[in-house]
Subunit: 214 residues, 2 copies
DNA sequence: TGCTTTGTTGACCAACGGGTCAACAAAGCA
DNA sequence: TGCTTTGTTGACCCGTTGGTCAACAAAGCA
């Protein structure tokens, strides 16, 4: 009796496929990725792929949606529930999050989004509503808490919490474009940025450690 | 006598072609751009295209190289020759440059570079050597001048002039992904960033206008 | 054990795209 | 005006790719 030519695994397929697709899309980009190679990487046939995802575009969107969400939710929840003061939170959990992101797999997804968003407007919209809006709101709340505490003076950061993450996006983009040719110590860069911002918005004259960030 | 079917214009062709290719590449991305449509847009035949550019990749690199350089050189020169102090320069010419960039055509090229750099390593290298390295060096020199003047205290900005432009890159990326769905006042954001950094690194206690950036 | 259901295969199609090339015709020249 | 040069055309080649579908076989069931 010959070994079975395949096994039926309806349950596992979607994850198998999105996992393989993530790898292919991030390595080669949307257009350069062939559905056949996604199937091959997932260990199934091309026909089966189309049973689970109607088109290439549908697969693409499913991939982005399924791999982006979890990380951010952690930060959001941390901001809400942390007992730390605003400055302590920024120098602790937030900094940790910010330093990890440009090194994680997520940065490859960021590249995909930058490259493809304008050709998939509904994906951009989804991303905004489910990721960015929440992140910004959480940061804004954190800043506001600091102002109420008297830790921070009112500043432009109230209106533009974006400024807290701009060096994170910058670091991700930098490594995507120039690594490994030109190293950049993104850890130090992001830490330096947070310290500078804190120096600028701290309410009282007494400053934190002001030396060069190493 | 019938009108001539075409005119011979050897001189104009390269610019015609790169101009058309820039438009196509930035609209559709590298892979999705067909050489035939570049030719059509340039008003010539596909065959002629290949007389001037050996391959699609060669055309792509030529496009990036020919449209990126000029803008930055202006900034570099301005830094060297300006009579302004460091702070005045940052709030004047630098800010002007930084605010314009995320709205200019260059931001489309930035998208292309982010999306394609890892598949064209020599292009990334060229871009580093001919654009980024110069820009960073110029900024570093400006900061150093401010420190020597006594305008600024030594700070992490000496090591990471990148922080001056990170919100510019951020703004460019933001508009590329979310416009026109979610407006962001990038002008105000960038201005606010510069003011915050200045607040952080100014040497003496006397501060500039500290109100919320409008 | 045989029948039904349905998860899975792989051959196939039509469109497309990068790249080639023989033929053509505009311009320069004698 | 005829000859030569060379800028230019457009048909063609062939590999690739998104997407389809009839046939197959693994699992469930009576």
């Amino acid at each position: 009796m010959p070994p079975p030519r395949f096994r039926r695994r309806k349950e596992d397929r979607p994850r198998q496929i999105t996992e393989a697709a993530l790898a292919e899309f991030t390595e080669r980009g949307y257009d350069a990725t062939a559905m056949a190679s996604v199937a091959k990487r997932a260990g199934i046939s091309k026909g089966l792929l189309y049973v689970y995802f109607e088109t290439k575009e549908a697969l693409f969107k499913a991939v982005v949606r399924s791999f982006v969400t979890p990380r951010l939710q952690a930060l959001e929840q941390a901001i809400d529930s942390s007992p730390l003061g605003a400055e302590a939170f920024l120098r602790g959990p937030f900094l940790e999050f910010a330093r990890r992101l440009p090194k994680s797999r997520v940065r490859l997804l960021i590249r995909l989004l930058i490259a493809e968003a304008h050709r998939h407007p509904d994906l951009a919209r989804w991303y905004w509503e489910n990721v960015v809006a929440h992140g910004l709101a959480a940061l804004r709340k954190l800043i506001a808490r600091g102002v109420e505490n008297g830790e921070f003076r009112p500043s432009a950061l109230d209106r533009f919490p974006h400024l807290l993450i701009s060096p994170v996006v910058f670091s991700a983009v930098w490594t995507l474009v120039f690594q490994p040719h030109h190293e950049l110590d993104t850890d130090a860069l992001i830490r330096a940025h947070v310290e500078l911002l804190l120096d600028a918005i701290r309410a009282n004259g007494k400053e934190g450690p002001r030396g060069q960030a190493r």
